[in-house]
């Protein structure tokens, strides 16, 4: 017998970290305006999300300049400093910038205490151009959140988006890396995404996205185990909370997803 009220109370009463969030996407001038992140954090507190990890990728299929990327990351840094202990950052980088991408990641880690890197759709995860960024995260015990999906609509608006096979390719190259495949609920064919992750223990997956097809969360846990699944919303609070509440999982599995112990060390280290 499913008891929704009990499921929602369970979610609210236990620690929850949202590993995939944004406080707006774009370039925000340093003018003291924190309205977006303030609304995000009040909304999170309202529903029982305790901590959030945000990033600010420059989307649209373009290569932003290093200066634009630094400005985007500085906005995240200002937001993180406004909510110490509750808000954490990832450094968006574009590997096309080579050593400058690594330098930007290094700057954000040292200046803001960011937990890792956010990569987008300029290159697939297994492309060797990503290697310097991956190697930096391995060396400094950080993780990478990769925008991901197996999108089946034509024309393909994101030809180099990473799907689970690309994630697996990178994971095999760097078995010591910690890679998160983003939004199982926002990345197209989730059946495909599940199958590609079966044999790569250092790839994790967040449950964010607007899609809440029945069986998706149970399938994800069957494919890779709850210890490799992370709670996330990517702005879709009702969908992400609801699909976790509705999934036929044990309480222990849900607790693991809500506050994955394998990732707690990043939170404990974050926020300089």
């Amino acid at each position: 017998m499913h008891d929704f009220a009990r499921e929602l109370a369970f979610f609210r009463e236990h620690p929850v970290t949202d590993w995939h969030e944004h406080a707006g996407i774009g370039l925000f001038p340093d003018n003291g305006d924190f309205s977006i992140v303030d609304r995000l954090m009040s909304s999170a507190a309202y529903v029982g999300i305790d901590r959030m990890v945000i990033s600010n990728p420059v989307t649209g299929g373009t290569h932003a300049t290093p200066e634009q990327i630094a400005a985007a990351n500085d906005y995240v840094g200002r937001c993180v400093r406004r909510y110490p202990g509750r808000l954490f950052g990832l450094a968006y980088v574009d590997p096309v910038h080579g050593r400058y991408a690594v330098a930007e990641l290094d700057r954000c880690v040292k200046e803001y205490g960011f937990l890792g890197a956010k990569l987008y759709n300029q290159y697939t995860m297994d492309n060797d151009i990503q290697n310097p960024v991956i190697e930096y995260t391995v060396e400094h015990d950080l993780f990478i959140l990769m925008h991901a999906g197996h999108i089946c609509q034509i024309p393909r608006e994101q030809p180099y988006i990473s799907d689970s096979t690309h994630m697996a390719g990178a994971a095999r190259k760097y078995p010591e890396a910690h890679l998160i495949m983003a939004h199982i609920g926002g990345g197209g064919d989730w059946n495909w995404q599940l199958r590609g992750l079966e044999d790569c223990p250092n790839v994790f997956c967040d449950i964010s996205g607007s899609v809440h097809d029945t069986g998706m969360i149970e399938g994800l846990v069957r494919a890779i185990g709850a210890e490799r699944v992370l709670f996330g919303t990517d702005g879709n609070f009702s969908s992400s909370i609801g699909k976790l509440c509705g999934a036929k999982l044990t309480e222990r599995e849900k607790l693991t997803i809500m506050e994955n112990p394998r990732f707690l060390r990043y939170l404990e280290r974050g926020n300089l």
Partner: protein, 262 residues
């Protein structure tokens, strides 16, 4: 009381799903406190002759007619479509769902316009499940894109007395277009809450402001989607949208009772 304006029975071809039969759906509804559901046949969408699926649906739900309210699946371009629609209404259907993209016609084709007008004459609304599931992950045999708001607006202007229901999409953006392009119709536009959020993103509040609370319906797309997602919204919506118990009653059941004459 919860009345689900958007539910299905039968096998879905593109992924494994549970709760495909009437007894299973009733058990699911009991778990979630859903009193009644407007159900149509999923196989009917993919049969060449949708009426075969409709008749299967009638047989399947006959033992639980007080809980599962039949909704016809229609294909206006098929022979005898209008006769089939009349038969479905005689057999208790309170709405008809159309799938123009799957069935390969334009909503402004003469046969479709005639069908839409006949639905109004029979006093039933016409529903459009814009996506059965998110099309970014579409199966290669599935449609590529949903019906657009402009396509619906064009048809609505040709069938001004027909009530339209939009299911399972970003309904706020559709409501903006339809309210601008089709003001002062006799028929109304109704929207379910399935893919519109009310928490960090406030699309549902905007939908209510644009379409009017009396045009918003509780709908889950069960068993294809987690019901809990819609219950999360119902839990928080009174506070987020400043709705009274009476207003929530309209959204969760009152509007459906009126629209479907339950």
């Amino acid at each position: 009381m919860l009345i689900d304006a958007c539910a299905y029975l039968g096998h879905y071809p593109f992924r494994k799903t549970e709760n495909q039969t009437a007894p299973e759906l009733i058990a699911l509804m009991d778990d979630y406190g859903i009193e009644m559901a407007l159900v149509s046949s999923l196989p009917a969408v993919y049969y060449r002759d949708v009426m075969d699926g409709n008749r299967e649906l009638f047989d399947e739900i006959a033992p639980c007619a007080d809980r599962l309210i039949p909704v016809a699946t229609g294909n206006p371009r098929y022979p005898c479509a209008l006769d089939d629609l009349a038969e479905c209404v005689r057999r208790g259907c309170r709405a008809v769902r159309l799938y123009p993209k799957q069935h390969g016609y334009q909503l402004t084709d003469p046969c479709a316009v005639e069908y839409l007008r006949r639905a109004a004459e029979l006093h039933i609304p016409v529903a459009f499940p814009l996506c059965l599931e998110d099309l970014r992950g579409r199966h290669h045999l599935d449609i590529m894109y949903p019906l657009s708001a402009d396509e619906i607006a064009d048809a609505a202007r040709l069938a001004p007395e027909t009530d339209f229901i939009l299911h399972n999409h970003n309904n706020y953006s559709y409501a903006v277009v339809l309210s601008e392009r089709c003001p002062n119709r006799v028929g109304g536009f109704y929207y379910d809450i399935g893919r519109t959020d009310c928490l960090y993103v406030d699309g549902l509040q905007r939908l209510i402001a644009t379409a009017g609370l009396d045009h918003v319906l509780f709908g889950t797309s069960m068993p294809l989607q987690y019901i809990d997602v819609q219950l999360v919204k119902l839990h928080y919506l009174p506070d987020r949208a400043n709705l009274t118990d009476a207003q929530m009653e309209l959204l969760t059941s009152g509007n459906a009772k009126r629209l479907f004459r339950l």
